[in-house]
Amino acid sequence: MAEIVIRNLRKEFGAFTAVQGSSFTIADGEFFMLLGPSGCGKTTTLRMIAGLELPTSGEILIDGEDVSQRPASQRDIAMVFQMFALYPHMTVRRNISYPLVSQGLPRAQVQAKVAEVARILGISDILDKSVGGLSGGDRQRVALGRAIVRNPKAFMMDEPLGALDAEFREHMAEELRALHDRMRATTVYVTHDQLEAMQMGDKIVVMNHGVVEQFGTPQQIYDHPASLFVADFIGSPAMNFLAFHGAVQAGETEVDLGGVRLALPEVQEAASPRDLVLGVRPEHVTLSDSAPYRGRILASEYLGTTQIITLDCPHGRVKARAPSGQGVRSGETVGLSFRAETLALFDAASGRALRTAANRGVHHG
């Protein structure tokens, strides 16, 4: 198992820059998520770590060794592909044993290892089947088996749950995480599904347009997004944005939204008058008649234990998550109060979160 260090990694395809200057560290044994919308460079980053693409510049250190210009076969990593990429002309057993055969391991040892892996994954009974007729879940397990059989330095997973149906996905996600906890193998996992990333990851890198937007634990990323993009991408529904024009001084603990003063964590950098955005998560919005900041209820969506109430406010639409028992009527004007310590302040032009007492220590890309 190994630590993976990425330094100023960059990949250009002709005139197109897929990844520009990423840097982050994946600790030994970590379950690490590369998260972002399609085309953000996450898969390219993964493929560069795996050795399927060579970086234009930058370094990839696996276990302290610079492998950035080495072919995949010499990096000692394993990969699970989105479509599994099981060798279609081989049985399950041969698929799983294939990485060992390339190492020239004796037959008896190969068989023993395959049997062990099959037992761990619960696929001993299908070892001699051809991979063609397997269900999605079994294919997934075989692909995992092929990856873990070799005890590689790290695992790369490219949206491995993407090809499964929703119901089974949940189950496989748990299984994967359990497997990881048992093996403690460094795992790099690409996904566009923020829930999956939050649910499974120890650390998350959020990428957009080839740039690392934020790097941190799921909680840091959810609670203290480093940019408007991250705030919008993570969370369902996304963070609410209240756009306003104003200036802030270091040390301020309030902002002025159309005459209403709203408390927020102590601002630690000054911003001259400009377009700013106040961010608040739906669950930190409460409807209260006494609150001075007003909004008109447009609609509510019932979600079982909670409901999402959409309100029209002077600085934009706001979604609030409220207990489903709370009665609301469309068209009614109500007061909104925000939990001050959770608010974030962004510079609208650059999209960057301003430094406050709350988000100190958050890593920008």
Partner: protein, 313 residues
């Protein structure tokens, strides 16, 4: 199902389809059946009018195909010892004796060497080129592919004279190597284009998985890509073989003694006293067999190859 569905054909339409297929098969197969049956006719039966559909089968055509015969004087003929073999007997019936072996066997062997040799070479080079075009960032890829295809845009025989002169200069005229190279040159564009299509359809992930599993690029190609491209390779091979096997014009022009293939040879089979139609038909029948066997062996692949990509598995 109680009522028949919309997509399920009715019995009537099924029977109509069956009749149409049968009629079409008969029309296309008739000339072939005629050739095969003529091969088993005696000389007079083969040119009788009206044509004989029912006849006494004879191996005369096949014996004539493989032998040269001569007519000898009646006295000498009468003085001959009784025929020793069944083919001696057949030849004697028409008042001739065997003078020696014909060159058909040799020509047939030439066809096999040249046909299969050029097919193998076309497939070998075509697969490698197609893989490179499919997987790597080759500079000027589209132009190169167009250039390769453009070699098929004129009839190959249009360059017959330059090739004839070139071959004479290079000492390739009337050699097996020369014909193999020539047919390969003609077939390779077809092979590259067909095979590139097949290889494009194989997801890259399979090779990438092999690369990550510790195999080199070439090992991944050989052990993962090739087995999956087998269908495409088989159907491409059939097309290449059919071309090389049947090619006539270059064979007439460039071969005579040493490397002549069967197609220019068969029409020159002349019997004693006129064209020996049963022998010609026998030659044509034998000539059909290798391609027929090859196609039957690979027909599963061929069918899948032709409909390849039509249905996503």
């Amino acid at each position: 199902m109680s009522a028949h569905s919309v997509t399920e054909p009715t019995r009537l339409s099924k029977s109509i389809a069956a009749v149409l297929v049968a009629v079409y098969a008969l029309i296309t197969l008739l000339p072939l059946l005629w050739i095969i049956s003529t091969g088993f006719k005696s000389g007079p039966d083969s040119i009788s009018y009206p044509p004989k559909v029912v006849f006494a089968p004879s191996l005369e055509g096949y014996v004539n195909l493989f032998t040269t015969r001569t007519r000898i004087g009646a006295e000498q003929f009468a003085a001959l010892p009784p025929p020793e073999t069944w083919y001696d007997r057949i030849v004697r019936q028409s008042g001739t004796v065997i003078a020696g072996q014909s060159r058909f066997g040799e020509r047939f062997l030439n066809s096999v060497i040249i046909g299969f040799g050029s097919t193998f070479l076309s497939i070998f080079l075509g697969t490698l080129a197609a893989y490179a075009f499919s997987r790597f960032r080759v500079p000027l890829k589209d132009d190169l592919l167009f250039f390769i295809l453009s070699t098929r845009m004129m009839p190959p025989i249009a360059v017959a004279i330059p090739i004839y002169l070139m071959y004479r200069e290079l000492g390739l005229s009337d050699t097996h190597l020369g014909m193999i190279l020539l047919y390969t040159a003609v077939n390779i564009s077809l092979a590259v284009w067909l095979l590139k299509g097949f290889i494009d359809e194989i997801p890259r992930e399979y090779e990438e998985a092999a690369l990550i599993d510790g195999y080199t690029r070439f090992q991944a190609f050989r052990k993962v890509v090739l087995p999956q491209a087998a269908t495409g390779i088989a159907s491409t091979a059939i097309f290449c073989l059919i071309f090389a096997w049947n090619e006539y014009a270059f064979a007439v022009l460039l071969t005579s003694g040493n490397a002549q293939t069967a197609p220019p040879f068969i029409p020159t089979i002349i019997g004693v006293g006129g064209q020996d139609w049963p022998a010609v038909a026998a030659g044509a029948t034998l000539f059909l067999l290798p391609v027929m066997i090859f196609t039957i062996l690979l027909r599963k692949h061929l069918l899948r190859g032709i409909t390849f990509g039509a249905v996503r598995k």
